[in-house]
């Protein structure tokens, strides 16, 4: 059987940088930050100062009663998927068993659970909404997507923390390549900006405090002054299709998803490991049939933690060797924050920007490069280049899961 290659034919986004792929790319090109000071209603007593809330008004997408029965994370997922399907113009009639859903989320319906717990533990009010279970379960977003669009093909929900949605994309690519599906909806969503979740993150002492002069500049990956990550929320969804079928129907092909690497560090619950990361990068390159010099942009995991950024740069150097001095690397988390389970999908969308327009998204606010982060940075401002042959997107998670995706120009 000839190799079945996989085309990306539609994208949808709900993010702190606008709620379309074009909006996201425009904000990245302008190095605009979606990070803000958190209102007391969101931060509660957690002490967390900044976050990146999605640009989101449920009333534009859902009737009030409908929105009330969907966790905020599921609302994001449905909205992003509707955009992606609409952009792809993929016909679904009569072939829904050949179209599946692979989704990623770190947690699921945190808002639903927290609201319930607030009643139970806070007010000793044990009367609980009957929809609590189906709204909060971690596959709620994936299942709502499948139900809404009657997608009956291969189905999975990945929960590997910050690599979840990148894994969903990689596994969806493999489902198409293996002939188990002709098209897939793949992506991820997360909405964890709730007081209790923020308190848990704050306890880890990995969150950045607000930048004294500009809250939007609080997340500074690869910078000597970096103070940790900033949590964000949102979703990104993609329509993946077997390439020849997509071409035959005249679909607009944004990129080809050519490589997927998946490894586990298996050394520590939170400390990253360059060996595990580099193995995932090598696997994605090998599957793509590309050499490091073919990669024209890396969207780094780059969370802006003191250890994480250095380890990732070491891993890039290990894999790219001499080419590491030339391949542009940036972390767009400086602008949209860390979407956790949704990060891999949103950043895959960001990584498509150089392929689609030749613009390299920058690491915003990178004024004082940490010499331990020795890669070719894209500091402060986006750069225009001729569209590269391929791009890489890294997603590394607590628990040691590493996922790397490679997309190529169609």
């Amino acid at each position: 059987m000839a190799t079945r290659r996989v085309a990306v034919t539609g994208a949808g986004v709900v993010s702190p940088l606008g709620s379309t792929l074009e909006g996201l790319h425009g904000a990245l090109r302008d190095a605009r930050s979606g990070i803000r000071r958190l209102e007391p209603a969101v931060a509660g007593g957690s002490g967390v100062q900044v976050g990146a809330l999605a640009d989101w008004n449920p009333a534009q997408t859902f009737k009030e009663a409908e929105a009330a029965n969907l966790d905020r994370a599921t609302q994001f997922a449905l909205a992003a998927t509707a955009q992606a399907l609409s952009a792809s113009t993929l016909p679904l009639e009569g072939r829904s068993e050949r179209v599946g859903v692979h989704w990623g989320t770190g947690y699921g319906g945190a808002h639903t659970l927290e609201t319930t717990y607030k009643h139970i533990y806070g007010a000793n009010e044990w009367r609980t909404r009957p929809l609590t279970v189906v709204m909060a379960m971690s596959n709620a977003a994936a299942s709502n997507i499948a139900v809404r669009h009657a997608l009956r093909g291969p189905f999975a929900n990945f929960a590997t923390a910050c690599s979840s949605s990148a894994m969903a994309l990689g596994e969806a690519m493999r489902a198409i390549a293996a002939g188990r599906a002709d098209a897939m909806i793949a992506g991820g969503s997360e909405s964890l900006l709730t007081p209790a979740t923020l308190a848990a993150w704050q306890a880890l002492r990995t969150l950045a405090p607000a930048d004294a002069s500009d809250a939007g500049a609080s997340c500074k990956p690869f910078d000597k002054r970096r103070g940790g990550l900033v949590l964000g929320e949102g979703a990104a969804a993609f329509v993946l299709e077997e390439e020849s079928a997509a071409r035959a129907r005249g679909a607009r092909i944004l990129a080809l998803l050519t490589g997927y690497g998946n490894s586990c560090d298996a050394v520590h619950m939170s400390r990253p490991d360059r060996d595990g990361q580099s193995r995932a990068m090598k696997e994605a390159l090998a599957e793509s049939g590309l050499s490091p010099s073919d990669i024209g942009y890396i969207n780094a995991h780059g969370t802006a933690t003191s250890v994480g950024d250095v380890v990732e740069c070491e891993a890039i150097n290990l894999v790219f060797g001499d080419a590491a001095a030339r391949v542009p690397v940036s972390s767009t988390k400086s602008m949209h924050g860390h979407l956790l389970g949704g990060a891999g999908a949103l950043e895959f969308g960001a990584a498509l920007m150089p392929l689609m327009s030749g613009w390299l998204p920058p690491t915003a606010f990178l004024e004082e490069v940490d010499p331990a982060c020795k890669v070719r940075h894209v500091p402060l401002r986006a750069e225009q280049v001729s569209p590269p042959r391929a791009v890489m997107s890294n997603s590394f998670a607590f628990g040691g899961s590493n996922v790397v995706l490679i997309a190529a120009r169609p």
Binding site: E64, A65, E66, R127, R129, P130, L131, V134
Partner: protein, 81 residues
């Protein structure tokens, strides 16, 4: 507003239906109200009327009319009717 009108009003909001067209003798599933949606709807009915309908009575509710009778009985039992 009488009990049935209030129930129709709630159902029309919850399920995006036209209250005037809700036939109290029609099966709930003819309005697209499945078992899960019904349980969630009952939760809101109980909140709104401040009553509790016992589990053994839930099974007998097949229509909005049935629902009205159960709510009326619960209101009477609670001394609210």
């Amino acid at each position: 507003m009488d009990t049935l009108s209030r129930i129709k009003d709630l159902a029309s909001k919850e399920f995006s239906l036209d209250a005037a067209s809700l036939d109290p003798s029609a099966p709930l599933d003819s309005f697209g109200i499945d078992s899960l949606a019904f349980i969630e709807f009952m939760f809101k009915i109980e909140e709104t009327f401040g009553v509790s309908v016992a589990d053994e009575h839930l099974k007998s509710i097949k229509t909005l009319g049935d629902l009205e009778r159960q709510v009326a009985a619960a209101l009477a039992q609670a001394g609210k009717a």
